[in-house]
């Protein structure tokens, strides 16, 4: 007997669109997603990748020819820090328009160079299988992400530069922006290490403290970055906490016209 009430065909299921939420780092092996295996051909793609697909950058750093990617990331870091430096230099104007970008870019690169050997040592002590070139690449990624984010903060920094006379305020503001950008950069670095079979992140965390201290001391070693001075580099050696204390104690003296 024919079935008079046939079961209606099940309509094809329409899958909901995949939400554009970033996958949790570390839940899958690097390169499982085919999009992570796509090479990074230029700096624009590198910037896009570090913001949206950090795993792709980490994967590409393990491939042969990672040197080009590292060079591209360092190039972006230098250009972005120079641009941010010009914005920082508008606070005082004059010579600082070129001195501030030079000091910020040089300070960042020197800090990274000083800290690279200790990062590699801590990585090895933590059981990481990362090679020196990969560690260098992760550090270059940190710098690129950090400086790219600083470019995002640049319009805000410029508006405040034009409307305040207080060096202490501007210094604090730049430090806050730098700190936020560095936090994101360090998050990328930690994600990189978590994929290198590291047994412990204790060494990495110790290195983070060292890197922060070096970068902060660099702001004092290369002063003035925001204010003005008679000499390009300081003649007196100071610890950064002592320098900041001096700036906060004498806010009137620390105006942009003074040599700080």
């Amino acid at each position: 007997m024919n079935n008079q009430n046939p079961i209606p065909p099940i309509p094809p299921q329409v899958l909901p669109p995949i939400p554009p939420v970033m996958p949790v780092s570390g839940s899958r092996s690097l390169g499982d997603d085919p999009s992570e295996r796509v090479a990074i051909p230029n700096v624009i793609v590198a910037i896009e990748a570090i913001l949206r697909q950090p795993r792709r950058v980490i994967f590409q750093l393990r491939q042969p020819g990672a040197g080009r990617l590292i060079a591209a990331m360092l190039f972006v870091s230098v250009v972005c820090s120079l641009i941010y430096g010009v914005v920082a230099g508008t606070f005082s104007g004059g010579m600082q328009l070129w001195a501030a970008p030079v000091k910020i870019a040089a300070g960042l690169m020197i800090s990274a160079l000083i800290c690279l050997p200790s990062l590699y040592i801590f990585a090895c002590l933590g059981g990481s299988q990362a090679r020196l070139v990969e560690v260098s690449g992760l550090l270059a990624g940190l710098l690129m992400l950090m400086t790219t984010l600083l470019i995002g903060f640049a319009p805000v920094a410029w508006i405040f530069s034009q409307s305040t006379e207080s060096l202490a305020w501007m210094g604090t503001l730049h430090l806050i922006f730098w700190f936020i950008a560095t936090c994101f950069g360090l998050r990328f670095l930690e994600a990189g290490f978590s994929h290198s079979n590291a047994r412990s992140l204790a060494g990495f965390r110790t290195w983070v403290v060292i890197f922060l201290l070096v970068a902060l001391q660099m702001t004092t070693a290369l002063r003035p970055i925001l204010g003005t001075a008679k000499t390009f580099l300081p003649t007196e050696k100071k610890f950064f906490l002592a320098h900041w204390g001096d700036c906060l104690k004498a806010p009137d003296e620390a105006s942009k016209s003074e040599s700080r």
């Binding site: 939400p19 554009p20 939420v21 949206r52 995002g152 319009p155 508006i159 034009q162 409307s163 207080s166």
Partner: protein, 236 residues
């Protein structure tokens, strides 16, 4: 019907109702006409509200505030666009620059539409208030009008952000990520918006000061320094 075909001033009601699916489709497709429509709504809505706000002091102040109020919204959106677009993927919401910009602009459009709708009420309130002049100091009236302005602006801002949260939840598929992104965007926009408001003051005006577009001290000090010094004075 495609999202672009629906472009009309009636879409403002869709924004106000907060239909995340349609709004998500709009933000996903770049349209210069839609952008122009949104900018016009911001200029008209916030402009009318600004005019009502400044009218108490002087008609010229009304004109200045009508120009400055939308300017703050547009400058904040533009200056923070790059930063907001970078923060979204870093906090877990992988949307392109244009979509993050459109989403933020959408929340401002909702706020501006609400402000525009409240502008006749505000104008009526101002019309009924005693004139602002140095001869007749009216501290209680001034405070009442100021608090009413704060309440209306807060209502518009909160509504815009609730709609933005719904949109971000839809785009990200996860409420926790949407909250994180909204918080980061809000922090950046409030930080810059407060300073821009400080630079572009006055809005209501003062009977003892002349009507002017910028104060002579517009670029002296910043909003946060002022708050800090006020707090110090209060504690001393």
């Amino acid at each position: 019907m495609g999202a672009l075909d629906e472009l009309s001033p009636r879409e403002i009601s869709v924004l106000l109702r907060g239909e995340p699916e349609r709004i998500a489709a709009w933000t996903g497709q770049w349209s210069a006409r839609r952008l122009a429509l949104h900018v016009v709504v911001i200029i008209v809505g916030a402009g009318f509200y600004g005019a009502a706000m400044g009218w108490w002091r002087d008609p010229q102040q009304a004109l200045f505030t009508a120009l400055k109020f939308p300017l703050i919204i547009l400058l904040t959106s533009a200056a923070n666009a790059l930063l907001n677009a970078m923060l979204a993927p870093l906090l877990g919401l992988n949307i392109p620059f244009r979509q993050s910009f459109s989403a933020i602009l959408t929340s401002f459009v909702i706020a501006a539409a609400i402000l525009g709708a409240f502008s006749p009420l505000m104008a009526f309130l101002i019309w009924n208030a005693p004139p602002m002049s140095s001869a007749t100091p009216s501290e209680s009236t001034y405070n009442f009008i100021k608090l009413t302005q704060v309440a209306v602006i807060a209502f518009a801002g909160v509504t815009g952000n609730v709609r933005l949260l719904q949109l971000l939840s839809r785009l990200g598929g996860c409420r926790a990520v949407a909250r994180r992104v909204l918080f980061a965007w809000l922090a950046g926009n409030l930080f810059l918006g407060s300073q821009l408001s400080w630079i572009l003051r006055p809005f209501i005006g003062s009977p003892s000061l002349p009507v002017e577009f910028f104060r002579a001290t517009a670029l002296h000090g910043n909003f946060y320094e002022n708050v800090f010094h006020s707090l110090l004075q209060l504690l001393q």
